[in-house]
């Protein structure tokens, strides 16, 4: 019976059985949020950015860049870390979640990096850096923009076998699967550069960023923190999916879910451990320890101690004791820590001594929530139809899935 259901999944017939007749709480909340977001965006495009945002000449970048783009992309780092673990290091234990993570990564770039388009003042000229009209190759943003585009395509290629399985296109699936390793390698390379590149954007903000956050090593710090940001997001989002999409989970995933989370927690703990020492190194190198006694210094210590040291210890303890609640708590603390760090670099420690500080309008927050809601809608639609959390159809599983022969047995 269960095997038949999986076969049906390949053709999408399963989708009919999964139409929900009732609206969940998420639907009730997210639909008005998205509707309001659309209205606000209409105003933004007809009246200019100033009508809906608190951006100013002192603060050209606000929540949409600082949170949607910069933090959102850090959270999507799970895709390159997990594909590295599964396809390069061949840690098969994590194979059951790699598809969901790649899907999340793809959607995160489409929606959150796509949020970049909403923030552009003259978006009709976004074609310029693409068509070779005039490439500003000296610009870090040029590199980041190109990598976003290439990475979206790469993630789509990595995810496409799932789409081919859903549509029952066996030949196509085979071709796409052969591209996986190349896409993974390209994706990891691109991710390294644009995760660090988002940090490199602030290298020329030297006179404006508080010395405790400014360093020539911002790119390295952003890259390393994107590793545990991504892993924490996989843990967080995986825990939610495990409950919400329980009906779609393959047995292998259901059984190995706990082991996977514990393994990821170990990885996150290790990455955070190294990151902490990097932070110490950067602090000493910048010769700014005397600033730790100021109010911004205390804020810096809060970010590092409460939101990096503490979750690192919790991850280590939780994975050692095999305690899922501790691991999940550590993941949430880490996510908050990443948000705080990215917002610090882009908005809070940026011109920290300005007479009028930037605070986002409720409209900016609203649009951000609408984008997140829209991304979740698409994620849910895909997971309920395609073999992401559920098993691939039999024809796609390879030789080892041959049915066993039944023997006549001696009495």
């Amino acid at each position: 019976m269960k095997a038949d259901l999986n076969q049906l999944g390949a053709k999408g017939v399963l989708a009919k059985g999964w139409t929900r007749k009732r609206f969940t709480l998420f639907d009730v909340l997210s639909i008005p949020i998205m509707a309001a977001g659309a209205v606000i965006l209409f105003i933004r495009f007809t009246k200019g950015l100033g009508a809906v945002t608190n951006l100013s000449q002192d603060y050209p970048w606000g929540l949409w860049i600082g949170f949607d783009v910069i933090t959102g992309v850090a959270f999507a780092g799970g895709a390159y870390v997990l594909t590295f673990m599964v396809y390069i290091l061949r840690m098969e234990k994590y194979h059951p979640i790699v598809r969901a993570t790649v899907l999340n990564g793809f959607l995160a770039y489409v929606f959150y990096a796509g949020a970049l388009l909403l923030d552009l003042g003259r978006p009709w000229n976004v074609i310029n850096p693409i068509i070779g009209n005039s490439f500003g190759v000296s610009s870090v943003l040029f590199l980041v923009a190109w990598h976003f585009m290439l990475y979206m395509i790469t993630e789509l290629i990595e995810f496409s076998p799932a789409i081919a399985e859903w549509l029952g296109l066996k030949k196509l699936r085979k071709i796409l699967a052969s591209l996986t390793l190349g896409a993974v390698i390209f994706g990891i390379t691109l991710s390294t550069l644009h995760q660090s590149g988002l940090g490199a954007l602030f290298l020329m903000a030297k006179g404006k960023l508080h010395p405790l956050w400014y360093s020539e090593f911002i790119p390295v710090l952003f890259f390393v923190s994107s590793i545990f940001a991504g892993l924490s997001m996989v843990i967080f989002e995986g825990s939610i999916s495990h409950r919400v999409f329980h009906h779609r989970l393959s047995p292998a995933l259901r059984l190995s879910h706990d082991e996977i989370l514990i393994g990821l927690a170990k990885g996150a703990a290790g990455a955070m451990f190294a990151y902490l020492f990097l932070k110490i190194l950067v602090l000493i190198h910048g010769q700014n320890w005397h600033l730790l006694g100021t109010s911004m210094g205390y804020w810096y210590l809060t970010e590092v101690v409460a939101l990096v040291v503490l979750p690192c210890a919790l991850f280590a303890y939780g994975s050692r004791m095999r305690s899922l609640p501790v691991i999940k708590a550590a993941a949430i603390l880490t996510l908050i820590g990443i948000i705080v760090n990215r917002l610090n670099v882009s908005i809070i420690a940026y011109k920290w001594d300005a007479p009028v500080r930037y605070v986002p309008t409720w409209m900016e927050v609203e649009v951000t929530l609408a984008i997140i809601a829209a991304e979740i809608w698409v994620f849910r639609w895909v997971v309920n139809r395609m073999p992401v959390l559920s098993e691939s159809p039999l024809w796609a599983r390879g030789e080892t899935a041959r049915p066993r022969r039944r023997y006549l047995h001696a009495a």
Partner: protein, 233 residues
């Protein structure tokens, strides 16, 4: 920068190197702390006494129940058990080309064919230790069959079963000192096959390499294997 007085641009280099050394030491400690559970697990397995003699070739894990066809059972929760092949069978057969595990939903019967392995051109069946319905199959092992040999009692589990008559059937399985004695008996039988100059294992110490049966008898090894696995025709 003013050009009128000395500025040391490498002022903190010394301290930075010290931080690096501290990091390396701390990393060692951190690593040991993180892998402590794994090391404890390995140590606890090795503590299980198999024979009175100084050497033992095949490991058994604590708390498992063994079928005489060399499959093991480990209760997971009230309704599910994990099932796998023991170390003896793994080393006897060696790394298979592929594992033919039953599909989810199929029913197995205690003492009848549970699953199969393809080794070279031969196929070997393993008897199921319990009756019940297959609820899960270890995908990891399907993709990397060598995992079953490397960690036969942990990550090398093969199936999860919902047993039909657990309380009754588990009496047919061995555990504790009985299992240890049975494993010693198997080891003795195998040792008797090694009388000749085979060179694959040391008679007095040394753990046998895998694929013992094949090393013993390149032609007809499957007969020897089936004798131990109780699947002779």
């Amino acid at each position: 920068m003013e050009a009128f007085s000395y500025v040391d641009i490498f002022a903190t280099k010394g301290i930075e190197y010290i931080i690096v050394i501290c990091f390396l030491l701390a990393l060692l400690a951190f690593w040991r702390a993180m892998t402590a559970t794994a090391r404890e697990a390995v140590a606890s397995q090795q503590r299980f006494p198999l024979t009175a003699s100084a050497t033992h070739w095949f490991s058994l894990a604590d708390g498992l129940h063994y079928h005489q066809g060399h499959a093991w059972v480990k209760p997971e929760n009230e309704s599910t058990v994990k099932v796998g092949m023991d170390d003896f069978a793994q080393k006897l057969l060696g790394k298979p080309r592929s594992l033919k595990l039953p599909r989810v939903g199929e029913r197995l019967v205690q003492g009848e064919k549970g699953w199969g392995l393809d080794i070279d051109s031969k196929s070997i069946e393993i008897l199921s230790p319990l009756s019940g319905e297959v609820v899960a199959v270890n995908e990891e092992v399907l993709r990397a069959p060598e995992l079953a040999e490397r960690d036969p009692y942990g990550r090398g589990w093969l199936l999860a079963l919902r047993p039909a008559r657990l309380a009754a059937e588990i009496k047919n399985l061995l555990s504790g000192p009985l299992a240890a004695a049975w494993m010693e008996e198997n080891t003795e039988r195998l040792r008797s096959y090694l009388g000749g100059p085979v060179g694959i294992a040391l008679q007095d110490g040394g753990v046998p390499v895998s694929g013992i049966a094949r090393a013993l008898a390149p032609e007809g090894w499957e007969e020897i294997a089936r004798r131990f696995l109780l699947t002779e025709d």
